[in-house]
Symmetry: C2
Subunit: 148 residues, 2 copies
Amino acid sequence: MSLRIFSNSSVYALRALMYLVSRREKQKYISIKEMSETLDISFHFLTKALQPLTHKGILMSSRGPAGGVSFLKAPEEVTLMEIILILEGEDFFKSCMLGLEGCGHQRPCPVHGVWMDIKSILMKEFSSISLAMIGDKTVMQHLRLMNL
Amino acid sequence: MSLRIFSNSSVYALRALMYLVSRREKQKYISIKEMSETLDISFHFLTKALQPLTHKGILMSSRGPAGGVSFLKAPEEVTLMEIILILEGEDFFKSCMLGLEGCGHQRPCPVHGVWMDIKSILMKEFSSISLAMIGDKTVMQHLRLMNL
DNA sequence: CTTATTTAAGACATATTAGTCTTAATTAAA
DNA sequence: TTTAATTAAGACTAATATGTCTTAAATAAG
């Protein structure tokens, strides 16, 4: 297996968000159907993957013709960190590298310190990146969000 | 879900290695049975999890009475990085954060740069830690390798 | 008001990972 | 040389993650 830190569901939601923000100047709502086809993601699966984001006020959605999803919160104000905590859960960065329960300062595992450092770096990185930054970069440098 | 970068199988093997190195002064072989009971890991599962390490010359094993596993390569010379590549595969650190095929300098995804940085840090950290270091630390600070 | 379009929700199916069990092969000791 | 102990290997089962399908609810347009 290769290194992956997010579930498929989260990755799909992330890619859709990146797609959405990279063309946010167009019409108000963008349909999940369009995104699922463009990004080659199962439509129903993507629909569900995005729901926590609407529930938590990142996106808004509209049913019916010309419906879809759109940003409720300004992408400039949304960090990757915030998205990750919504998609994966608030405890995402509270794990032990060895999966031990209650591993912490009191009763640490042998790699507790290293793992803490690594998690800190991840959190710092993800907190410093907004969706708007990703969208701008994606447009300007023609970056890809799908397999070829 | 919380952050985890290794499979259960790999985590079990890592914990067993840490246990093994933290008491390497004792008898030559330590039985997998003993480790599986001490660490509360399924015996057969642990047996299989450790096999790639014997195949790759990190451990040696002996069947029969007083058998078990022991280090073939000196724990001072074995880094976490080396273990991870054996357990998870040589391509472990070649992944894309968004799971895109062929994501690289040529056709990067929007988070390619960040992800590269993160992976570099991980590789650097894991390369700088030997099993012997972990063993010494575990003994000296009475660190734990199992759930309470 | 009716229809077509779209998200929401949940049941269902499939694939992958994790874990168990059985048998075989090896080895040390009696 | 027989027996018990142990790893090796592989079939099998269970749990979880991933993906599909069906139906319901909402909404815009005619």
